[in-house]
């Protein structure tokens, strides 16, 4: 089971994330397993919920990841606070996405704080990255 998950995971990652981002996701996987022994691997369906659900954000306003990135990850988004255009988040539409672990880490830290008003857990971050990779 674990091997199968890993194989699926590698197949998806080969096409959608760079080796260093894949490595970052593996670190998240170890952390998630450590936090919860019943953890069975990241899940795009859960990631979709992380991405589309609304929360009371850092600014005290109801906001979701989709407020800036839209529900169609292959299209351009717009910064909810400043109006600046955001290039598509989907690796299939924007080859620069999920290529730098440093960028991914930085934006997940910021964006979870803005939307959830707290850091994301390893499980939430992994789930949402797997979800983005399927787009």
């Amino acid at each position: 089971m674990k091997n199968l998950l890993l194989a699926l995971f590698c197949a998806a990652s080969l096409s959608a994330a760079s080796p260093e981002v894949t490595q970052y996701i593996e670190t998240l996987q170890s952390k998630a397993a450590l936090a919860d022994p019943a953890f069975e691997g990241f899940d795009a369906k859960r990631g979709e919920a992380v991405f589309t659900s609304e929360h009371l954000g850092k600014k005290g306003k109801t906001i979701a990841c989709t407020s800036c990135h839209t529900v169609n990850l292959a299209s351009k988004g717009e910064n909810y606070f400043t109006g600046k255009v955001i290039e598509p988040l989907a690796p299939s539409a924007n080859s620069l996405r999920l290529t730098s672990a440093k960028e991914v880490e930085k934006w997940l830290r910021r964006n979870f704080n803005d939307v959830y008003n707290r850091e994301g857990t390893a499980k939430e971050k992994g789930d949402v990255l797997i979800y983005i990779m399927t787009k």
């Binding site: 850092k58 910064n79 600046k84 440093k102 930085k106 910021r110």
Partner: protein
Amino acid sequence: MKSLLLIPVIATMLVGGVYLMADDDHYEKGNIKQRAAQLPVSPQQQSYIKECSSCHMAYQAEFLPKRTWAKMMNGLDDHFGVDASLTAKDEKILFDYLQKNAADSKRVGKHFAKMAASAGDTSLRISDTRYFKKEHRKIPQKYIDQKEVKSIANCNACHQKAESGDYRERGISIPNYGRWDD
């Protein structure tokens, strides 16, 4: 499908390019050399532009004094209500860049100098300086609130060359209003 999508993108790029060239012909003759001379951008400036232009345009360091930038850089995790935090290493690079290029660290143009000289001690905004308010007081609020501008902090919505540091009146065009003739 992919190439179909590409057509409008390329078309927009072309139109954009022609527009820029036409604009250059009208307004920027003779300025090309000057711009080329400014070109070699230091690695510090490159980092500044990369990191500080992801949510809005990169505001010129020359607009504010050292003390304001220092305060801003020490509170990036709550930057106007959003998280703009950096790694400690990048934060140091940008801190130094802003200190070195602030209005009170070198000779700057008169608009920059006036902006920085009228900065208060509580607000970190360029748009809260006295000189800024005076220059923008005649703009009807509806042109600022409209979706094409959204906030007075979006300098480049009206100042077509804001990103290159050019705020001269002939480069101003307010969406759905046009050129500003004062």
